[in-house]
């Protein structure tokens, strides 16, 4: 299309470009590897006047998200970005942003949590806040990063829930690849200005916002029965569940304007007749497509099911894709220490009690940037299938490319 320009850029540049195209009004972010160039790029554009936004410099990630919360509360379109320990430092405000129902969009260049110190990729950071009440979307490549950020504002502002766009640190954040960049008019056609916020900010008719809300509903001074904490949390949960409808809708609306769609909640590759389904979120899914091709070449009916929306977890979509398959092998780049990979646990729970559900096994790989090749991923699938043929219905998490035993 004439109104889209093919260029070559990193994932971080794609994230910054999307924020500019979204006409964000306030940016508050603190640099941390591997997200740094998102902040640097946006700061340069604000400084040059190319992006007419407020860039609020802060002393920490906690303050960065605090600024975003304030700006979003008064109705601004707000963007921030971080990684790993920066996200951990934000943690209190991560929960506040969600509970206050503020449609902030955050870029998360996925990185391992310390200790030991490590700046390389895995997905432990975002997984550690999966329960905070944000929508979490995972990207496969830099085009999907740009496109998903544009979608994220629309999703966030439709349901008043913040959206975290997760993309693998270094593997995407610092890798250049072709990206089709729409012009401003095209982005505007897809993304209108932010609708009115849930908050009322009116000096002539002031409100308490986010006041203490205790256990039980109670009548306010005018006698109206107001939510207790639990009602507000139930509404928040309902909003997140509504994203199961909104995310695919927005992907369709995006496709109508840009000619690209990303699958909505999930995506798939060679899945139609697959017996063995390889499951992952993020760029690992792209590697799994190579592994699936290799397995197909040797006669195994392998396919890939990618998870784009991890929260909300697309239970019905996953069931529809997986019922009738023989097995699903979930590759997590994170671990719930003392249990197993988080996506694996969630998928097992989604399949529990479902007729004709596949066996679900888990594998952990790529922690702290440990390389994982398509051949190693294919080997993991071969091991799982061999175990099933040997009669296994349960097996421990398979650690890929681990060198403890040489």
């Amino acid at each position: 299309m004439a109104d889209q320009q093919m260029t070559v850029m990193t994932g971080n540049e794609a994230a910054a470009t999307a924020a500019k195209l979204a006409r964000v009004q306030v940016i508050a972010a603190y640099p941390i590897t591997p997200q740094t160039s998102v902040v640097e790029t946006l700061a340069a554009w604000v400084e040059s006047g190319e992006l007419p936004a407020e860039f609020v410099t802060v002393e920490s990630e906690h303050s960065a998200l605090s600024v975003c919360i304030a700006a979003s509360t008064v109705g601004a379109r707000v963007f921030t970005a971080t990684s790993a320990n920066g996200l951990a430092y934000m943690n209190e405000q991560v929960w506040w942003a969600a509970g206050a129902r503020l449609p902030i969009v955050m870029g998360l260049a996925n990185r391992a949590m310390a200790a030991p110190w490590n700046v390389l990729n895995d997905q432990q950071d975002s997984m550690s806040v999966r329960d905070a009440g944000w929508v979490q979307l995972y990207c496969r490549d830099n085009q999907e990063i740009l496109d998903t950020f544009l979608q994220a504002f629309r999703i966030a502002e439709r349901i008043n829930v913040p959206v975290m766009v997760c993309y693998d640190g270094f593997l995407l954040s610092h890798t250049v690849m072709p990206v089709s960049v729409p012009d401003a008019a095209m982005a505007d056609a897809f993304l209108p200005p932010r609708p009115a916020p849930l908050t009322v900010v009116d000096p002539d008719d002031p409100r308490n916002i986010g006041a203490v809300t205790l256990a039980d509903p109670r009548a306010d001074a005018e006698g109206t029965s107001c939510h207790g904490y639990m009602e507000i949390r139930a509404l928040h949960h309902q909003a997140l569940l509504s994203a199961l409808d909104v995310i695919p809708q927005v992907d369709e609306e995006f496709a109508a304007v840009f000619g690209r769609a990303w699958g909505g909640l999930t995506w798939e590759y060679l899945l139609d007749d697959a017996d063995v389904v390889l499951v992952a979120a993020g760029s690992l899914g792209t590697q799994l497509t190579v592994a699936a091709e290799a397995l197909r070449a040797e006669g195994m009916k392998a396919g890939v099911l990618g998870i784009r929306s991890y929260r909300p977890f697309p239970v019905e979509a996953l069931r529809a894709k997986l019922v009738g398959r023989k097995g699903a092998l979930v590759f997590d780049k994170a671990l719930s220490y003392g249990y197993e990979g988080p996506i694996c646990s969630d998928l097992r729970a989604a399949m529990c009690g479902v007729n004709d559900a596949p066996l679900v096994f888990g594998a952990v790989c790529g922690l702290g940037g440990r390389d994982v090749s398509p051949e190693q991923l294919a080997d993991a699938a071969r091991r799982a299938v061999a175990d099933v043929h040997a009669g296994a219905s349960e097996r421990p998490t398979d650690w890929i490319n681990l060198h403890l035993e040489g």
């Binding site: 206050a100 129902r101 008043n160 849930l198 908050t199 009322v200 008719d205 002031p206 409100r207 308490n208 916002i209 986010g210 006041a211 203490v212 809300t213 205790l214 509903p217 109670r218 306010d220 001074a221 005018e222 109206t224 029965s225 107001c226 939510h227 207790g228 009602e231 507000i232 139930a234 509404l235 928040h236 949960h237 309902q238 909003a239 569940l241 509504s242 199961l244 409808d245 239970v315 019905e316």
Partner: protein
Amino acid sequence: MHARMSADEGRSTVGTKACGSDIAISRPSVGEAGNTGDWRNSRPVIDASVCMAAKAGKVTCQLCWVYCPDACITQGAAPVIDLTYCKGCGICAQECPVDAIAMVPERAHGTCEG
């Protein structure tokens, strides 16, 4: 639609959805934070024979009014404390320059079992 939530809402006679908001938001007003006086275990009692305003017979001093974090003191001679909302924090007693306010345990008023 994804209707995955179920809730035991049969017991509730007045639903809170009618409040019209999905978030914690309200108009500032007396009692907006609930009957916070329920929490009090000591009650501020002003001794009018010591209170500067009461003794002067005019609205002076008023430091208790200034410092009350719950805005439950009304200016006056002497100032008036609204015990429906006073949490009993004791800041007024601490700040009173002439020690006119005593924090008396609720037990002494017979409103709190020992």
